[in-house]
C-alpha cells in the first residue's frame, strides 16, 4: 500500500532531503506534497487529506507546535498522524511535542531505515485500529 505524505519544513533543502530519505528507505510513498510552514500545511490538508504529516518545529508564520495544536482541535484533521523531525533531541522537547499530539519524533541525524520503521509503526497502528486488528508493534 502506498501512503500519501505531507512534508512541512521551511528549508527547501530539508524538504528535498526528506523526499530523498523516503525514497531510499523503501517506504511506499504515493503522493508526496510539501508546505513551508504550518499555515500552508493546514490549507493543503483541508483541501486534500494525507496519510501522514512530517513536520519541522521552528518555522515562520506558523511553527510545528501551533500546527499540532490546530490539528488536534480540528475534528477531521486530528486523526491524521504527525511525526516531528527536529534537531532538538532534548527530553523536554520530545515530551512536549508528544503531549501536543505528535505520534512520532525523529531527531536528526536519522537513517532511512529508522524513518521507515517509525512511519510503518504509526501507520500500522492506525490501520489496525481502523480494521479492529492488533498491531504487531
Amino acid at each position: 500500500m502506498a501512503y500519501s505524505v505531507l512534508i512541512v519544513d521551511d528549508s527547501p533543502v530539508m524538504r528535498t532531503f526528506i523526499r530523498r530519505v523516503l525514497a531510499l528507505s523503501g517506504f511506499e510513498v504515493g503522493e508526496c506534497t510539501e508546505a513551508s510552514n504550518g499555515e500552508e500545511a493546514l490549507a493543503q490538508l483541508r483541501a486534500r487529506a494525507v496519510d501522514i504529516i512530517l513536520t519541522d518545529i521552528n518555522m515562520p508564520v506558523m511553527n510545528g507546535e501551533e500546527l499540532l495544536r490546530k490539528l488536534g482541535a480540528d475534528g477531521i484533521l486530528k486523526t491524521t498522524p504527525a511525526v516531528v523531525i527536529s534537531t532538538d533531541a532534548t527530553n523536554e522537547r520530545i515530551l512536549k511535542m508528544i503531549a501536543l499530539g505528535a505520534e512520532g519524533y525523529m531527531s536528526k541525524p536519522f537513517t532511512p531505515e529508522s524513518l521507515r520503521e517509525e512511519l510503518e509503526r504509526i501507520l500500522g497502528e492506525r490501520d489496525a485500529s481502523r480494521t479492529g486488528t492488533t498491531s504487531g508493534v
Binding site: D9, V13, R20, A23, N58, T87, A89, T90, N91, P109
Partner: protein, 172 residues
C-alpha cells in the same frame, strides 16, 4: 529551520568549552554520525591546518537557554559541492549557490542540535538560525575546536559558551 535569536549581550566565556568533560569526544562521534547518516560520507579527526579556512563556506549558529553560546562550521571549498549533492541526491553540477549555502546552514543546525542534545540532554535550549559568514578568530576564547577530514575535503567545527542571561525562546 530554527528561530532568530537576539545578539548576545556579552562575549566573555561563561565556562570554557575546551575544558568541558567529554565534549571533544561528543563532537567527534556526533560529526561522524551526522555525516554518515544524513550526508552519506565519512568524517575522521584530522590535524588542524587552517590554510583552507579563509576561502571556505562557513556558518554560525547561536543557542540559548540553560546554556548560552555559539557554534561555527566551515566546509572546505572542494568538499562543499559533493557533500551538498550527496545530501540532496543531485549531481554536483546541478547545485545552485542557494542550495550550497542552505546545505551548510542545515549541516550546522543538525550538528549543533545533535551535539547539544548529547552534551546536555536534560537542558532546555533554543537554537537560532544559522547565518553564513567568514570564519572568525575565536582563539583564546575557551572555544573547543576540531578539524575533520572527509573523502571530499575538510570540515572545521568550533563551539564556545558565552556569558549571558536572557529568557529562553519558544523553540529549538
Amino acid at each position: 529551520m530554527p528561530q532568530e535569536l537576539e545578539q548576545p549581550a556579552a562575549f566573555e566565556p561563561q565556562i570554557r568549552m575546551d575544558e568541558e568533560p567529554g565534549a571533544g569526544e561528543i563532537i567527534r562521534l556526533t560529526t561522524a554520525e551526522v555525516l554518515e547518516t544524513m550526508f552519506f560520507t565519512e568524517a575522521e579527526p584530522a590535524a588542524c591546518e587552517h590554510a583552507w579556512l579563509p576561502s571556505a563556506p562557513c556558518a554560525r549558529v547561536r543557542f540559548e537557554g540553560s546554556h548560552f553560546g555559539e557554534m561555527l562550521l566551515a566546509v572546505s571549498a572542494e568538499a562543499a559541492d559533493p557533500i551538498a549533492a550527496s545530501f540532496l541526491g543531485l549531481d554536483p553540477m546541478e547545485l545552485t549557490d542557494p542550495q550550497r549555502g542552505q546545505m551548510i546552514q542545515e549541516l550546522t543546525n543538525i550538528l549543533c542540535g545533535a551535539m547539544l542534545s548529547k552534551l546536555w540532554p536534560e537542558s532546555r535550549l533554543a537554537i537560532g538560525s544559522p547565518e553564513l559568514m567568514p570564519w572568525p578568530d575565536w582563539s583564546g576564547n575557551g572555544a573547543l575546536h576540531r578539524c575533520f577530514a572527509t573523502p571530499e575535503g575538510m570540515l572545521a567545527i568550533s563551539i564556545r559558551l558565552l556569558a549571558a542571561s536572557r529568557p529562553v525562546g519558544p523553540g529549538a
